[in-house]
C-alpha cells in the first residue's frame, strides 16, 4: 500500500473535494497529513486520514523551519496542495517539500489535478526566483525611499487613539 503525505497548504474545503481524487490516484493509500496546529482538530474528522502531523510553527511552510517526523518514517509520495491551477505563489511550500522524507513530490491543484514535479524542477525554479528576488529587493528599496516617509507620518499621526 502506498504511503502518502499530504502537505495542507490550501483550504480544508479544497481537501474535501480532492481527497477522493488522491485516493483514486494512489490506489487507496495510507494517508498522513501535515498541517498547522489550528487545523489539526478539523483534519481528525476525515475517515481516511490515518495520521495528522502538526507543523510546529505559526508561519507559512518554510524550508528553514522543518517539520518533525517519527524516527525513520518515510513516505512514498508527498502531495502538495495548491489553491490555484499552476502552483504560482506556492514556491515556498514546494521548496519546503524538498526537506520532507518523501520519495516523489506531486502537486494537487484547485480542481484536483495531481501532477508530478521533479526536485530538479523545483530547484531550477527557485534559482530563477532568486533573480526575481534580487530585482524585487531593488524595487522595494527605491519604492521605500519615496513612499515610507509619507507612510511613517501617516502611521504616527493617526496612532493617537485605540479601540
Amino acid at each position: 500500500m502506498n504511503k502518502i503525505l499530504i502537505v495542507r497548504s490550501a483550504p480544508i474545503q479544497q481537501l474535501d473535494a480532492s481527497l477522493s481524487k488522491i485516493k483514486q490516484k494512489f490506489h487507496g493509500p495510507n494517508i498522513s497529513i501535515l498541517s498547522h496546529e489550528h487545523a489539526i482538530e478539523l483534519l481528525n474528522k476525515y475517515e481516511c486520514i490515518e495520521k495528522c502531523i502538526t507543523y510546529p510553527f505559526k508561519e507559512s511552510f518554510d524550508l528553514r523551519k522543518k517539520a518533525k517526523f517519527d524516527n525513520g518514517e518515510r513516505f512514498d509520495h508527498g502531495v502538495v496542495m495548491v489553491g490555484n491551477l499552476t502552483g504560482c505563489g506556492f514556491q515556498n511550500v514546494l521548496f519546503f517539500a524538498l526537506t520532507l522524507p518523501i520519495r516523489k513530490i506531486w502537486v494537487c491543484n484547485l480542481i484536483g489535478e495531481i501532477t508530478p514535479i521533479s526536485r530538479a524542477g523545483i530547484i531550477l525554479k527557485s534559482i530563477r526566483n532568486q533573480a526575481f528576488k534580487f530585482l524585487a529587493l531593488l524595487s522595494t528599496a527605491v519604492f521605500s525611499v519615496v513612499a515610507f516617509p509619507f507612510l511613517f507620518c501617516f502611521l504616527k499621526c493617526k496612532s493617537s487613539s485605540s479601540v
Binding site: Q13, D16, L19, C88, L135, F154, L155, V163
Partner: protein, 292 residues
C-alpha cells in the same frame, strides 16, 4: 430577546441563494431570524426571495456596496448572536443550537468560527461521529465569513465589517479588533457550515487586487507603527517579487492603489496591542496565491 440572526449577503446569485435559504428553512430552531441583504441584484433575486421565502427579512442596498452591505444586516439584526454566511453557504441543522450553547457557556467568547466544508463532498469523506473541541491552538486565527457566529454587542463595538475594503480581508480586520478587546475567537469542529466551492481558477483581477490592497490597509489600520512599517516593507517586496514570478502587474497596481487611496482609512487607524499582532496568525502572503 431573539437569540440568533442569520445574515446573508446576495448579489446576482439567485440559484445559490435559493439553495441556501431552502436549507436554512429546514433548521428547527425557533428563536431565529434570517436577514438577506441584497446588493442591487439584477437577476430578480429580491422579488424571488419575497415570493418564495416570505419569512426572510429582506434589506435592499440598492447598489453593490460590497461587504459594507453586510453591515446593514448586522445593524438590523435583533439577535444576541449573529451567524454570518455567504449567499452560497448554510449552517448544518444542529449547529445553531450548539453555537448558542457555546456562547452562553463562555462570556469571553466573541466569535465561534465554524468548520466551513465543501457542500458537495464533505459528508462523503467525514467520520460519522461528531467531533467536539478538545484543545485550542497556541495562536489565534481569524474566521471564515462563510460560517461564523459573532456576539452582536462585540461586533458592533468594533464597527462591524470594514466597508472601505469592499471585498476580502474583512474577517481578518474584525478578528484583530475583537482580539484586541480581549474576546476569544475559537474554531469548533462540531459547528459546521457547508459552502459551495467554485472549482475553477480565479482569473478575475478582483481577488488578487482586493486581497493585496486590503492587506496593506489591514496593516496600516491595525498594526502598531513599528510592526506596520516592517510588514509594509515585506509585503511591498512580495508585491514586486510575485509580479515577476506570475508575470502580472496586478499586485503593483494594488500596492499603488493602497497608497493612493490611503485617505479612505485615514480616520480608521486604531492600533491594536503588540501581543495581539504577535499571537494572531494573519497570512499576509495569501493574496499571492489566487491569480493563476
Amino acid at each position: 430577546m431573539l437569540e440568533v440572526s442569520i445574515v446573508m449577503l446576495c448579489w446576482n446569485r439567485w440559484e445559490d441563494v435559493n439553495s441556501s435559504l431552502s436549507k436554512i428553512a429546514e433548521i428547527d430552531y425557533s428563536n431565529l431570524e434570517t436577514i438577506v441583504v441584497d446588493n442591487g441584484s439584477t437577476d430578480g433575486s429580491p422579488k424571488n426571495i419575497r415570493e418564495q421565502f416570505p419569512w426572510v427579512k429582506l434589506i435592499e442596498a440598492g447598489s453593490n456596496l460590497g461587504i459594507e452591505a453586510y453591515n446593514l444586516g448586522f445593524e438590523a439584526a435583533k439577535g444576541e448572536f449573529i451567524l454570518i454566511i455567504d449567499d452560497d453557504s448554510y449552517p448544518a441543522k444542529e449547529s445553531i443550537e450548539r453555537m448558542v450553547q457555546k456562547f452562553s457557556g463562555n462570556p469571553k467568547l466573541g466569535v465561534c468560527a465554524f468548520d466551513v466544508r465543501n457542500a458537495d463532498d464533505y459528508d462523503q469523506v467525514a467520520k460519522t461521529s461528531n467531533a467536539v473541541a478538545t484543545s485550542q491552538s497556541s495562536y489565534s486565527t481569524g474566521f471564515n465569513g462563510a460560517g461564523a457566529g459573532v456576539r452582536k454587542e462585540i461586533f458592533k463595538r468594533v464597527g462591524f465589517y470594514p466597508g472601505e475594503f469592499f471585498l476580502y480581508m474583512n474577517e481578518a480586520d474584525c478578528s484583530l479588533r475583537i482580539r484586541n478587546l480581549g474576546y476569544e475567537i475559537r474554531f469548533f469542529p462540531d459547528l459546521i457550515a457547508y459552502h459551495k466551492m467554485a472549482a475553477k481558477n480565479r482569473k478575475s483581477w478582483r481577488a488578487p487586487f482586493f486581497y493585496t490592497r486590503n492587506s496593506f490597509w489591514l496593516i496600516w489600520k491595525n498594526y502598531p507603527t513599528s510592526y506596520a512599517l516592517r510588514a509594509t516593507i515585506l509585503l511591498s517586496f512580495q508585491c514586486f517579487y510575485h509580479s515577476l514570478e506570475q508575470l502580472t502587474s496586478i499586485y503593483i497596481k494594488a500596492l499603488f492603489s493602497a497608497f493612493w487611496n490611503i485617505s479612505n482609512i485615514a480616520d480608521k487607524r486604531f492600533p491594536v496591542k503588540e501581543e495581539v499582532v504577535n499571537e494572531m496568525r494573519i497570512p499576509l502572503n495569501l493574496c499571492f496565491t489566487f491569480y493563476r
